[in-house]
Symmetry: C2
Subunit: 385 residues, 2 copies
């Protein structure tokens, strides 16, 4: 069975396990069952016509006496590129805008309040090529590029917060960044969050194109809750999630682009661990499909040059602070995951488990300050002989 053939883990389990065992296996793998979220028939129909998967899930929280529920609907969109990678740049971008527009419309029908797209969503993930042209032409201003303007329209039209990860061109500084633009439901650009950790691995030659972000761990207060964006490779860095959380993030989005054998078994682990450790919701989004490039390129692995670098396996999901998670979207198809969450769950789980209260952060601050000194002496105990 080729790696891209399995539609989803959950479907494979459901197809073969007897009911009683399936229930236990799901509990062990995914935690407390998420409820299915009923979505409007018109949305289901539109998704079917537009050839994308539509899934709805709900995380409940207990009713409190002093706080009303704070129910928010989050939408995650994963999609493949629309045109071939050698089509004119503007045509590629426009085709992607159109595709996402028809998916966002369905999200609106589903009552989504915050919608997040995948990493550098209006372009192919072309950094494997190490060519600067034409890929740097996809870079645009976070404040008034065509993609930001497109998202502002969506945000206003649907009264949605939009998180739009793009390749950013910073004209003043003559710099490219990998950036998520956060657009308020008013249509205003609320701010931006740049990718903090840049991979240097295999086909992810991103350090050729942009540097580590300089926006720290900003959190954005929206009408629907406080959100932060940990872009792609930052999901491997527990401190990155943690600092967003320390700044008050209730939902941390992780727009990504990742392929293959090495990262796929890590995919269900890292964002979920972050939700558990930080008493918050995390949303992991990955693109789908295989992207072909005209010029061949090598992958730093001694193998022959080729024209694609593997299958982006989708599988976008949401993890909750109680360790439960939604099923993943398909490994092969475009999809929209709509998740209703009651943000009160974060504090409820924090009060129960108290990971932060027991975190001893003062001592870690000291130990870490010590560890980064060039003359750091690790604490190693040796046998006296």
């Amino acid at each position: 069975m080729a790696a891209c053939e399995l539609e989803s883990l959950e479907e494979a389990l459901e197809a073969h396990l007897p009911e009683a065992e399936l229930r236990e296996v799901r509990r062990l793998l995914f935690g407390r069952d998420t409820e299915k979220l009923d979505l409007p028939a018109s949305a289901v129909e539109a998704a079917h016509e537009r050839h994308f998967e539509l899934k709805g899930c709900r995380f409940d929280a207990a009713q409190e006496q002093l706080r009303p529920p704070r129910r928010v609907r989050v939408g995650l969109i994963q999609h493949r590129i629309v045109l071939p990678t050698d089509a004119p740049v503007l045509e590629q971008v426009t085709a992607m805008h159109n595709r996402v527009a028809e998916m966002a419309e369905v999200a609106a029908t589903c009552g989504v309040n915050i919608l997040c797209f995948q990493e550098t969503w209006p372009m192919p993930f072309a950094f494997c090529t190490r060519e600067k042209e034409p890929w740097t032409e996809f870079a645009e201003s976070a404040e008034d590029g065509i993609t930001t303007r497109f998202c502002q329209e969506l945000a206003k039209k649907y009264n949605m917060v939009i998180i739009s990860p793009i390749l950013e061109r910073d004209e003043l500084r003559s710099t490219l960044w990998n950036t998520a633009v956060i657009i308020s439901n008013s249509g205003n650009v609320l701010g931006k969050s740049r990718k903090n950790h840049i991979p240097r691995i295999g086909d992810f030659n991103e350090s050729t194109y942009y540097m580590e972000g300089n926006t720290g761990h900003a959190v954005f207060q929206t009408q629907f809750g406080r959100v932060a964006v940990n872009i792609c490779y930052g999901r491997h860095h527990p401190l990155n999630w943690f600092l967003y959380s320390l700044n008050g993030a209730e939902i941390i989005f992780n727009p990504s682009a990742t392929v293959g054998a090495l990262s796929e078994p890590m995919w269900p682990i890292e964002a979920r661990n972050a939700a558990i450790a930080n008493h918050c919701f995390t949303c992991a989004i990955n693109r789908v499909g295989t992207e072909h490039f005209k010029s061949e390129f090598t992958s730093g692995d001694g193998k022959k040059a080729h024209h694609d670098f593997g299958h982006f396996y989708g599988s976008s999901y949401v993890a909750a602070p109680d360790g439960s998670r939604t099923p993943g979207l398909s490994r092969t198809r475009d999809g929209l995951l709509v998740v209703e969450m009651d943000l009160n769950l974060n504090r409820q789980i924090s009060d129960r488990w108290s990971f932060k209260m027991t975190g001893r952060y003062e001592e870690y601050a000291e130990e870490l300050a010590d560890a980064v000194r060039p003359d750091f002496q690790p604490h190693v105990v040796r046998e006296k002989i």
Copy 2:
């Protein structure tokens, strides 16, 4: 199906999934397949006669030019208590010593170099009762208590490093600690590592008995590699794993005692995430069985008083830095997991993924120092209206 009836997740999958799908599901869930480790027939037979599960796995690494392989065999023992919890203290401890001795002998036959037991292994996990007597009588000196002396004999006899998590009595300071004693294969006590994070949740009333540890993040240089011990609840704290790793740990053990619906879905996530994020091996060990106590107790959940607090689900496993993991031991039976690992894998994966090199720890040290100040202002961006 009651929570304790499923023998193991892996067996349920193997029993029902067709071969091709099973292979893909296993890859998605567990990463690269671990090889089966061939164990001596005499060990297999002894385990059978002594009624415990014996499993062997192997993690390989690539052959390097300048470093020979550094193959180490690690053994994890999970077991239930032997006598009822109201038997005389010394009889309970002795019965547990005898049980572990017969399991350790099999570990020796399997060539184990480093053997680790579960949290507070010579006693029932009685902290749910909140009674001080007789449970504090199980506390003993880390340096020369009967359990340490027992382990020193094992260590010398079998040329093994032994990690022995106990309830420690610190006579000088009139304090109890939850402590792992690290005993060199020479038989000498190499040192001790105290539990850094103490739970205050449900039946885990441990803060009633002992305080947060004061041994920091010591790492122990043994003949077979550098080891550290992150006890139980510390697995929920990514910074705890991280600091052990920053001090050079190649294998981090996580002896635990945990039950039930809330923690079981987290169990496969946290130690494995730590192995990935820190480029090291992690070993998660949990006791098995249900422990009954004579006096009834409540669990702070509004429910009626009862005599046990649920099923310890075992499921001990080892995770590797490449995101792969061994199958878990049984959810219900005593067991010994023997894992051969080539420690060279840590640096190989670090060179490939570079999470630490890209970690930007200097900036985190500053941010964390700032965040622990009482006048900390979180970085929250608000819309200007």
